[in-house]
């Protein structure tokens, strides 16, 4: 479980900053997780060292940050993220993250796990149109002070893939007002709401800014040749979009400067 074996081949993408390789970013695998290898790959391309973590372990392996990737952990049985939330490793992550120290990123199913674990408020229900949706999605970065978004400017836009069925972010009005008032909406959908999420919210953070969850997939937009067909700055070469890479360089830069 410690050596990553790429499914296709080693990435040819140039590492952003080789000085970051001492930063260890753990990626949790649950039964039914799909995007763990892409997340590890994104960490590596950003210059860090990806560390595979198994949900049943009790050991965080001295990682400096954690990514809970996308997929269908435990088959989404009961509710998305509901059973994963009680995995042994999640207890370690919750304990280390809730005080504000350990940076944690939840992507898609990982976002759902973080809400079930009460590390982030709200919840996700089925898309309002009931379909599984897969598209390149434009987002606005509204908070660049979190551990995972410092590489972006406030108000800048990115294009990354969105692919889910339970992607509709819901919370009561009081919680939504609180999130807005405290600047904790990190990503908002631009160019139309794809799933009925309250107030077009695509991603949020906790009060400390170390825990971030979002439904779209930045880890699928980090390497030319494997990304979306567009980026926020306009046309790119086929599959040339790499707007998601800043998420991963943000946390590495933050940790190396600590």
């Amino acid at each position: 479980m410690t050596v990553e074996t790429p499914l296709i081949g080693y990435s040819n993408a140039e590492v952003v900053d080789a000085g970051l390789s001492g930063i260890r970013v753990g990626v949790v695998t649950f039964p039914g997780t799909l995007d763990d290898r892409d997340a590890l790959r994104a960490v590596r391309i950003a210059g860090g060292t990806g560390v595979q973590l198994w949900h049943g372990d009790h050991d965080l392996k001295d990682v400096d940050a954690v990514i809970i990737p996308g997929g269908f952990s435990y088959g989404d049985y009961l509710r998305a993220g509901a059973i994963s939330r009680f995995a042994p490793l999640m207890e370690q992550i919750t304990a280390a993250a809730s005080g504000g120290s350990l940076p944690v990123l939840g992507i898609c199913n990982g976002f759902q796990v973080l809400t079930e674990a009460h590390l982030l408020p709200g919840s996700m229900v089925k898309n309002n149109h009931l379909h599984f949706l897969c598209k390149d999605q434009r987002l606005k970065v509204e908070n660049s002070t979190t551990a995972w978004t410092s590489a972006y400017a406030d108000g800048s836009e990115i294009v990354v893939p969105l692919k889910n069925q339970d992607g509709q972010f819901v919370a009561d009005e009081r919680t939504l007002d609180e999130l807005e008032g405290e600047g904790r909406v990190v990503f908002r959908y631009v160019g139309g709401n794809p799933n009925g999420s309250r107030r077009d919210i695509a991603g949020i953070t906790n009060e400390h800014g170390n825990v971030v969850g979002l439904m779209p997939h930045p880890e699928h937009a980090v390497e030319a040749g494997f990304g979306p067909d567009s980026s926020a700055s306009g046309e790119v070469e086929t599959r040339g979009g790499v707007d998601g890479l800043g998420i991963f360089t943000s946390v590495l830069q933050k940790l190396v400067n600590k």
Partner: protein, 85 residues
């Protein structure tokens, strides 16, 4: 063996897309008498032996922590049912 039934429903203020889709399908089949549909979940927890107050408490706790998410759902029923002999 006795079973404890737990019913979980989406909160009234949460849009229930599945219920809405079912509500749309009903009239196409000629079932025109229903104004709204909401879809919930029913769990049956089978107990070996008697259902003590302690076991019923466990069921209530399980309903509140694992079986439902209080952000989007309400537990509407935790009740013992005996099988007909």
């Amino acid at each position: 063996m006795p079973r404890i039934v737990v019913d979980v429903m989406p909160k009234p203020e949460i849009l229930d897309p599945q219920g809405k889709a079912i509500a749309g399908a009903l009239p196409r089949l000629g079932f025109t008498g229903f104004a709204e549909v909401r879809q919930g979940k029913r769990f049956e927890l089978t107990v070996e032996g008697d259902v003590t107050e302690e076991i019923l408490d466990q069921a209530r706790n399980a309903a509140a922590t694992l079986l439902s998410n209080p952000v989007i759902e309400d537990v509407t029923r935790v009740e013992v049912i005996e099988d007909a002999q």
